[in-house]
Amino acid sequence: MLALKSFKETLLRLLQHRTSFAGLLIVLTIVVLAIGASVIAPRGYAETDPVNRLLPPSGQYFFGTDVLGRDLFSRIVYGARIALWVGLLVTFIEALMGVTLGIAAGYYSGIVDKAISAVTDMVWAFPPVVLALGVVTVIGPGLTQVVVAIAATSWPAFTRICRAKVQSLVNREFVLAARAIGETDSSIMARYLLPNLMPSILVVSTLVLPSAILYTTALSFLGFGAQPPTPDWGAILADGAAQLRIAPWIATFPGVFIVITALGFNLLGDGLRDILDPKLRI
């Protein structure tokens, strides 16, 4: 069962757990890169210098340059900012939507539950890329649009977990007691149910974030996401695909960073799950 652990205790166990420690390290590195981008990156991410285009990695250009002579290393470092920002935003929106719907479905049951579950199942089963493409077609291309599009596809992860948990909690004594003394539904949900869900929500968030990064970069890769010259890792990769033969570094490095970032969060999430809520099925 869930036991509410204190922050310190959780952190301590995180550091002891092998996978989550590795994950934490990676995540922190990326965060540092993102925050310190303007200091770490030797050049701006939009500085075109066509004379020096398509140069291989060297001491001067750590990851080489792209077709317009822009420094790939700088672009990737700034790209960390975008990846994290986008990931957090998407996860937050999804959590907001998903948790609300999940609690409602679990608490009210009956037709509310049926309706929400039907919609949730449908969205959950729909291939996310297709759904996101559909949304982007309507609202146009762009990074903000992609955030909305992806957020609209993966919130069921939160809903299902919350619904299941709420269902198991809703008949417990403390809830029944709260109802007996006349507390409102929303008060019960906020004061009793939500705190019990927080650990799971945290775990799910950590595991959903890398997904968000993977999907948003995928949409950028397809041309619907970040617009030039935004150094979204997926967009850089897409540019590099055409030069795969003569300048493979342009497509390789952004991918490496995407993998590392996603891996970091996945490992962290796995570790968190083992600590906070081992029975979580995700």
Binding site: T19, A125, V129, V130, G134, V138, G234, R245, P254, A262
Partner: protein
């Protein structure tokens, strides 16, 4: 079987309005999209009258609801209309490309489960030991990998440097299939391994398993079989839920490798606002999802008697 049949029938009844809802929503949304496909397909040297004439001939001058009604009615007879861009029947386009997607994704899906599930089970059984970490470590690695990047890297190494496989198109027979299928399969193996491991761990932690172990029942094999069977139920259900993926999930792989399947058709159609094609493909995906959901539910109900009694707790 009476209860099961009723259960299935109920699900189908819910499924139909869902399909209608999805396609209607799509239809309405498409009409809101900025950009007029008729104007878009008309070339450069065209007058306004010509554009109006073309629009009329496509029946696009009528109100939206009437258009949807005609479209749905025709779809019921199997007529998905004509592509704005190529003027070919949508059913022909889909029919021509469906086999390519299926030959790529279906084997990939099956293979991922065939390789992934045992991996997950092995990891679960060896929990905490090195094989758990190693398997899950590698699996996490592939799970964190963007498919398009994996595709490009495979293309780079095996296609361009080593020249073992063709890097795009489907014209070299089996060889062309290798790289796209590998790209599709590897992350999926990781995914199914994770799920299998989670389910297996869940079951292994159950009381009856612990009791049996405590009692020292002869073979771990017996336990394994029991535990495995119970763990495999949700895994099988996942398999069915993943099936709709075989149509839409291949969009990226097909785009990277120029694989002429439904995924790249959908992508191109969305770029060019070729509504009839988009609607047709989405309709098929929606139907497939409903079918797969129902099948998944039926399968889990058949395998797990508890579910039939309390279907909502599944």
């Amino acid at each position: 079987m009476g209860a099961l049949a009723r259960y299935a029938f109920k699900k189908v009844l819910i499924g139909i309005p869902v399909v209608v809802f999805v396609t209607l929503l799509l239809f309405l949304i498409m009409k809101q999209v900025p950009g007029d496909p008729i104007r878009m397909i008309a070339g450069e040297r065209v007058t306004q009258e010509r554009i109006d004439e073309l629009r009329k001939s496509w029946g696009l001058d009528q109100p939206v609801y009437i258009q949807y009604f005609y479209w749905f009615a025709k779809v019921m007879t199997g007529d998905f209309g004509y592509s704005y861009v190529t003027r070919q029947p949508v059913s022909y386009l889909v029919w021509a490309r469906l086999p390519y997607t299926l030959e790529l994704t279906f084997p990939a899906l099956v293979l991922s489960y065939v390789f992934g599930v045992p991996l997950g089970v092995i990891a679960a059984l060896g929990r905490g030991k090195s094989r758990d970490y190693v398997t899950m470590g590698i699996s996490s690695f592939f799970y964190s990998m963007p498919t398009y990047w994996l595709g490009l890297m495979l293309m780079l190494v095996f296609g361009l440097y080593l020249r073992w496989f063709p890097i795009s198109g489907s014209t070299s027979g089996f060889e062309s299939l290798v790289l796209p299928m590998l790209t599709f399969t590897l992350p999926f193996i990781a995914f199914s391994a994770r799920i299998a491991r989670t389910e297996m761990l869940e079951v292994l932690g159950e009381d009856y398993v612990r009791t049996a172990w405590a009692k020292g029942l002869p073979s771990t094999r017996v336990i394994l079989r029991h535990a495995l069977r119970n763990a495999l139920i949700p895994v099988t259900v996942m398999f069915f839920l993943d099936l709709p993926w075989i149509i839409g999930g291949a969009v990226i792989v097909e785009t990277v490798f120029s694989w002429p399947g439904m995924g790249s058709l959908l992508y191109k159609s969305i770029l060019r606002l070729d509504y009839p094609v988009i609607q047709g493909v989405v309709f098929i995906i929606a139907i497939l999802i409903v079918i797969c959901n129902i099948t998944g539910d039926i399968v889990s109900a058949t395998l797990d008697p508890r579910i039939r009694v309390e279907p909502e707790k599944a």
